[in-house]
Symmetry: C2
Subunit: 324 residues, 2 copies
């Protein structure tokens, strides 16, 4: 396709990063990339971000690009897959050169950070929307699935929870300032690709926290046919999120049910957490897999809290509704 | 992601087709699929269709699904790649159960026809839009690229040209009736996957005709640094398109510059066209690759026609503008 091709070529021409896996980059009917190594499978995920739904319509292009690509890379990491290639479908209402330059800049910076080449693109006229499809490679035997949690596993997250909800609160107030911790957490969440690799063969199950801890951990527990207890006092909440929350209960609610955190949540035998491969990461043990078949919240004294669990999960689900 | 996951599960749960290449289907952070066979690469392409831009906003779901998936499969065929897997990102303004059922029905029928499993999905709230990413497998040495055309190659297409333009004319008049030839050509273009495979190792270059013959053939010629002559009297135009065109010049213009035909256009030594592997296809020799560096149109007596070539191409490009 002609005009789109020229546009993509103009802004995204360097985005194959001259990667060895790119046999033929953007510009033919298809890109051609190498397959995975022997003993590996492909991991594939796709996500759409719509302006006004998943990010503010007036967000800078570089922020949008960073967030879109990182949230997709987060899916790869949650699977134990290494980044191999991605495609981008971009709809824009008009060609705003400044926005496109900013977008391309953010996309390139993020792609380089994760050594992830762009191998296909489509640019169309339409309401501002991006769909990214990521392709990764994963050891056939060590993919981090949702259904592998085992009784007694510790439940871990690799950083603070609730930052996404805090950032959204500031966005609603038009007070999320560029350069701030929460701005970075929302638009440039760090995906710990090395941690993901270290978890392969160690963690029994993993997921990325995109819809809120309770919703996402529920996926693991349902798929694994197990329950869990969460020690709510152990939930890591950043000082910045605490400040915005103002109240301990609100902060806890954000950590449990807020979305957009893009942390890895995984279950693993506790004795493996001291493995040298896992050192240097900000890991927090927040609970344990049990056989109750429920997701139980415990307070600081280990008492079962009045079940906001299902409610939290349902509430969030309803709140986000079809958007997800 | 929760709500979307439930929705996708509801409508698209059977769409992995129980394919052997699907190790783990939709429902985890990523799908896991097998890699290509040894000696093969991956071919990847992505395309977006927006309501009101690429298809009428009131088109039935099954038509939209069929067209979206086939136009993507057409990109695989134009590369000589076999279908391996696809992902779907669907934005809908609301959950219209009837439309979704129709869409899922059309998607499944097309996916089964081409043995192409759905391995990832995202469903979001937004203006009606679909992005499909297809992944294929292609013999490393025989990919049908754009840059391989050779001096003296015959130029072939695998069926009528101009049907897309005729269908668009009827859509504008609200006269494109379900069940008609042109309706089928627009919403269910046939991709000749077997022909594509037979072209591997025989054709020197290929492309699918999506933006119009002149625009797309130009891509081959520019990439191959060659020119061509087109025998305009040899352009295959269907009786249905001729009827709508009403006029010979209009029909020729549609065949040359109309888009949305999704035919394979390829260049090949003429002696190979009699190969048994190519028998049974509706192949038309429409011209020849030359060293003029131009795309020349010849009339019925072999005379160079007054250069509508660049104009036709440019006109089409401008008309479709950024949309592509």
């Amino acid at each position: 396709m002609t005009a789109e091709f020229e546009l993509i070529k103009k802004y995204f021409s360097d985005l194959d990063l001259a990667s060895p896996q790119c046999v033929l980059g953007v510009g033919d009917d298809c890109a051609i990339i190498s397959g995975p190594e022997p003993g590996q499978h492909l991991a594939v995920s796709t996500d759409t971000l719509n302006a006004g739904v998943h990010f503010p319509a007036d967000a800078k292009g570089e922020w949008v690009a960073s967030r879109a690509l990182r949230t997709n890379i987060s899916d790869l990491a949650a699977m134990g897959a290494t980044a191999h290639a991605f495609t981008l479908a971009l709809s824009v209402p008009s060609v705003d050169e400044q926005w496109m330059r900013s977008f391309a800049h953010g996309l390139e910076a993020t792609a380089r950070e994760y050594a992830l080449p762009l191998v296909g693109g489509d640019t169309t006229s339409g309401p501002l929307s991006l769909t990214i499809t990521v392709i990764g490679c994963v050891a056939a035997k060590h993919a981090l699935r949702r259904d592998g949690a085992k009784l007694g596993d510790g439940i871990y997250v690799d950083g603070s929870l609730g930052d996404g909800a805090a950032a959204l609160t500031l966005i609603e107030r038009d007070e999320l300032h560029e350069g701030s911790y929460l701005h970075k957490r929302f638009y440039s969440p760090t995906v710990h690709a090395k941690l993901s690799q270290a978890l392969c063969g160690r963690a029994h199950a993993a997921i990325d926290v995109s819809d809120g801890l309770l919703a996402d951990l529920s996926h693991i527990l349902i798929a694994s046919k197990l329950g869990a207890e969460i020690h709510t006092d152990s939930l890591p909440v950043s000082p910045e999120a605490k400040l915005i929350a103002g109240d301990r209960e609100v902060a806890r609610s954000w950590a449990l049910s807020g979305g957009d955190d893009y942390r890895l949540c995984f279950t693993m035998p506790d004795e493996l957490v001291s493995s040298p491969a896992l050192s240097g990461f900000d890991l927090h043990r927040i609970g344990q897999v049990n056989d109750t078949g429920e997701l139980q919240l415990l307070d600081s004294k280990g008492r079962l809290m009045a079940a906001p669990l299902e409610k939290g999960y349902q509430h969030f689900s309803n709140q986000k509704g079809f958007v997800a």
